[in-house]
Symmetry: C2
Subunit: 703 residues, 2 copies
């Protein structure tokens, strides 16, 4: 709706290649008019090189956007949310590339506080359809996300009484919560946490301590400078006996004047590669006493006499972790990749460099095969991962329903899938975003391109919520277990029944066109996954049978296990993409273009991991050449629709916040406009008076 304003209406740009060419030449010949650039009046008209890319898309862009959103109604809601957020100056990201850590933090807190008001104003609720688009509209640059985790942990782990006490306060921000699990010396391995909580029967309190520096809480968001309370995970001791890690609500700052509470040492952990808007913090506890009621006690309680009581099943806890991992795939990996592709592909049809043919003008860089090969497979991957994310959401929803009915059977599969796909998608997208940055040359390296911030931020997604290698190995345990079960004829979850099926023979492809058959490439992926899983399982067994201890044998197989898990996830992604394409309507050209992207994604994987397919001759060298030929042919096919394919992601200019990626393609004007606002140009040169002036030639102003 309000969206139209942001776009060049169809047909506004020049229509013919010749006209576009003439317009460009005319613009090139124009004399420099400084005023024109500095006032930005040149912005708005679409660069003719970019406009020409939009003239004859092979599919309906609007229909594809609706498909990505899961329906036109969702598209409408999303656009309305984005419009409301972006038209509000408090949420502006205009100066973000010039801000210090302090300024970014302040802006993020301001946004978080304002968001509450905004939601009320707009009638958006946490259960409403708008909610999921807010984070996207803010590009995640908002404070108090850990406050949400604080609330969720109380809701899930707290007793009814605890929920009734804390949640209303937190909802109204009468306190600000955080979640203090990770320690300086302890990350993923929770049992290793060192913080202690000793129960003192005399006072009915827990005494919390940080026994040494490695036990200091480190990294929790919102804790460095904002939080007044936090959930501290600590080893529970009752009468000298350790009962393992438990959660405790601890106040760390005064609500009155925000000063640190007695026994508390806390602060900010300093600058990071990104996330400067978040005050990740440290926390040391010295004899901090909290009441018995502050241990979250839905599942375990310490009674007044020191008796430890455990009740109910804690299995449902795993679901939170799974939900977070599935959610972050879209927000922190796939959407950033879509943004990076949009920026790099639009720029690549505006940027011209070198001549492809003698005598012609310089070519659009997207017309070089190497540039296509850098960007188009990642564009295809963005679609592939969007669809696998839908698949995971469905799996998760089904699992959630089962668990509500106290059926926990799907939990291992859910855990394995969310772990493996979190790892593979974040890893792939992180390196793909970096490729997009590099594909834009020097200008990609400027913060103003928007690519460096995408790049440094997405890197973190490979580490947080489970470091990727550890996650891969968790999925590996599941796969090896399933493989053993399947080999012994036992039942396994539906997603891994393929492990039981007999080995298929050689790839039947006879020419390059056969590699455009989903049956053929899906089969190849499946074959590779089965081979890697079975051969690693065999190695494991041989080692154990030869007397190597089980844990040593496992360690000696981990490099190959990671390979096997990647092959499994790759297979599922390709299969799911092919099945999704199958189900699409043929109307509007959507199915056809998605089929091309699916083929490209699959063949890119075969081309880039050739060894996996060649190893046992499932694909022969000659067939690999056919697959490569089809792969390279596809680049040229998809090249034609590259711009409409990123337009369909439907990011506004404000969301992209990129001088290179705007809808109008006025990259050079925008780079110049934006650079002029940099503090390096608006503030006095700090080095002149002190260092340069005394140096320079004293007698002349001009040489």
């Amino acid at each position: 709706m309000g969206r139209v304003k942001l776009r060049c209406p169809q047909g506004q740009g020049p229509r013919g290649g010749t006209l576009a060419g003439r317009a460009r030449t005319a613009s090139r010949m124009a004399l420099l008019e400084t005023r024109k650039y500095s006032q930005g009046s040149a912005l708005g008209a679409v660069n003719p090189d970019l406009a020409s890319e939009r003239q004859t898309p092979s599919f309906s862009v609007e229909k594809l956007t609706a498909l990505l959103d899961g329906g036109e109604e969702n598209t409408r809601i999303r656009r309305a949310v984005v419009e409301a957020i972006e038209s509000d100056p408090v949420f502006s990201r205009e100066n973000q590339y010039f801000q210090s850590q302090n300024e970014k933090y302040e802006a993020a807190v301001r946004k978080a506080v304002h968001l509450q008001k905004k939601m009320h104003e707009m009638g958006w609720t946490e259960n409403g359809p708008e909610f999921k688009y807010i984070y996207r509209a803010l590009s995640g640059e908002v404070a108090f996300l850990l406050h949400t985790i604080f609330m969720r942990s109380i809701s899930v782990l707290g007793s009814d009484k605890q929920v009734a006490k804390w949640i209303p306060l937190a909802m109204q921000y009468q306190l600000i919560g955080s979640y203090a699990q990770t320690e300086l010396g302890h990350g993923t391995y929770l049992q290793g946490l060192e913080t202690t909580a000793v129960f003192d029967i005399a006072t009915q309190e827990f005494i919390l301590n940080t026994p040494q520096i490695s036990a200091m809480k480190w990294w929790p968001g919102d804790m460095g400078r904002s939080a007044t309370h936090t959930v501290v995970f600590a080893q529970l001791y009752i009468q000298g006996k350790c009962y393992g890690v438990h959660p405790f609500i601890v106040q760390i700052r005064s609500l009155w004047d925000h000063s640190l509470c007695p026994g508390i040492t806390a602060g900010d952990i300093g600058p990071k590669m990104s996330f400067e808007h978040i005050d990740n913090g440290y926390l040391m506890l010295q004899n901090v006493r909290v009441s018995r009621e502050n241990m979250l006690s839905k599942f375990c309680e310490v009674q007044p006499d020191g008796t430890y009581v455990r009740r109910g099943s804690q299995q449902i806890n795993y679901l939170t972790m799974t939900a977070v991992r599935v959610a972050l795939i879209s927000h922190e990996a796939v959407i950033p990749l879509m943004k990076a592709c949009t920026i790099a592909i639009r720029y690549s049809v505006v940027r011209r460099q070198s001549k492809l043919k003698p005598g012609e003008e310089e070519a659009k860089i997207l017309d070089f095969q190497t540039q296509q090969e850098k960007l188009l497979p990642h564009l295809a991957a963005a679609y592939a991962f969007h669809f696998i994310n839908n698949y995971l959401q469905d799996l998760f929803n089904r699992g959630y329903e089962e668990i509500q009915r106290e059926n926990f059977d799907m939990l291992p599969e859910l855990h394995a899938f969310s772990s493996g796909f979190k790892a593979i998608v974040t890893q792939y997208c992180a390196s793909a975003v970096e490729v997009c940055l590099r594909a834009c040359g020097g200008h990609g390296y400027s913060l103003l391109s928007g690519l460096p911030s995408l790049c440094t931020r997405i890197l973190a997604s490979c580490i947080y919520e489970g470091e990727n290698t550890i996650l891969f190995l968790q999925t590996a345990r599941f796969l090896i277990k399933c493989f053993m079960a399947a080999s012994a004829g036992h039942p396994v979850p539906p997603s891994v029944t393929y492990l039981a099926a007999g080995k298929p023979g050689k790839c039947p492809a006879k020419n390059k066109f056969d590699f455009l058959s989903p049956d053929i490439y899906t089969q190849a992926y499946r074959h590779a996954a089965v081979r890697l899983i079975s051969s690693t399982a065999a190695k494991l067994q041989v080692l154990i049978q030869s007397g190597v201890k089980k844990h040593d044998a496992w360690n000696e197989c981990t490099v190959q296990l990671v390979q096997a898990v990647k092959a499994h996830c790759h297979y599922i992604t390709v299969k799911n993409f092919a099945e999704t394409v199958e189900r699409l309507e043929a109307k509007g050209g959507i199915q056809k273009i998605m089929k091309h992207l699916c083929d490209l994604f699959a063949l890119h994987g075969i081309f880039s991991n050739a060894g996996v397919f060649l190893h046992d001759g499932h694909i022969s060298g000659a067939q690999m050449d056919m697959a490569t030929a089809s792969y390279l042919d596809l680049l040229a096919v998809i090249r034609k629709d590259a711009v409409p394919l990123v337009d369909a992601f439907d990011f506004t200019d404000k969301t992209l916040n990129s001088a290179l990626g705007s809808y109008d393609g006025q990259v050079y004007q925008r780079l110049y406009e934006w650079a002029r606002k940099s503090p390096t140009n608006t503030q006095i040169n700090p080095a002149y008076e002190r260092y340069l002036k005394p140096l320079l030639h004293k007698k002349l102003s001009k040489l």
Copy 2:
């Protein structure tokens, strides 16, 4: 010499594993003493987990350092330079992770100005043996590097009269120069530059103009805020005729008050992913007049009557580009990778996480096979690239001698080698540094680890001085040409005679130990390179013969050409490493450990690019399993010497500037110490009064 202070003397750390274990346990049990950490008195003693790694190296660390330096004398000189620089507070990098772009720029200018004084004080000259270590000691964080390029371009391209006028002024910093080649819309393709210089016979001046925004000079270092002069590359016009791109000395700022000269618009291009200390700038020229004498005229001159005269050979110019590319391989790629390996490997023996064996304490993360596989191949690569850099330096020196004798025969080979290796080494090192960062988990992501700044800086090396893909394709032209010549029986440069040799047969390896034979793996690399070059040359010919135009055919082969060049460079690197090992003395265990690293580098390449070797069956699937087994075995072997192998790089703590990578391994204390100095902890919370205070619970200080 002065070096000893920085290090824990041999034997100071606990000797036995048991003692080390006890010391660690004792330290873990100690109660928290805040004061101890905050005053840093705990620093200095070496962490016992790290100390134990240094007890029984299989080789002499000091001898290896000398080998890397090219002799003990060089080591002595290097250490003296580093000591002199690091003991001077002006060169301190202590607060670099907290500085704004303005502060970094100011510090870099200050260092540049001070460096002049320092060099004079120390008696270091530009031709002395100390000179090459200065940049390393400063970690490149110094201004006026483009001033050096300004001087070099005048020396190379200027007439004797121009050299006599400008160089003395520049030497004394009576002016500050820059080098303005790249434009907003034009990078690598120099012929596309749009800036114009029109000769006005009447006034004997050139009139320089920026005809439109894409012609604005963009990116030149030192130009945004410092330079008073610059060498502008512009299309020369005389009486309406264009004579192509020529260099002109242009004054842009007053020497008197640093104001911009008439007709000049200039400023800083704003924030980048790194290099914040450099004022990369933009420049627009409007009817700027410079005298006829300001065109650099060693090779071409415009005479007073407008006659254009060309003289001498310009070929020697190419040498500058080659020299820069060779020099940057070491400074901007290999040394950063060595630093990243030092940080990540030291941290990986201090960090403990999860249990490898039930009942034991948590394991050092370097004992996990997956962690070894992330780091050790890159450690091997750092050595491999160090040796290939020596090889390139030798090649360059020989070429330089020939060229002095007016023999330009080696120029194409030099150009091809410097291009291809610049591209492959920067690309490899950039991704390896990122792997090191990720291998350190969350703490690697903190700027205080030193890894993010290495990571963002090295990324630029893939783009500047020739974007890597373009460089690969320049090498490809050379290789295809040589291949055609060799096939026709014509002579080719010695480095590519292997292209002419007949195809070797199958790999003869019969068991995993055979893959530890340099003959076997070098042969495999050579085979792969020949196959990729010859098959791409064949594809090119087939396309052309089928009627595809030559430039289109070339474009359709570029993805495969890049693969072929990589295979060629990989082969040369492996071969050179193996030959270097061969030549080493057996004494001090150096040869043995270098042989292991060479094997690891080679087998890692085979493991990671399996498809290249399996494609035509040179290596069979079964042989690939053998190579993989040897590869994984080697990880465990090199694991034992991992710390001594990075110690041998001999970086001081100040050079690394990393909380994770210091020699003493006191990572947690240092992270805490450094975090406390962050402005987020030393400045007032900017969000409290405005946003948090009005929000929080009004009545109580404690809940």
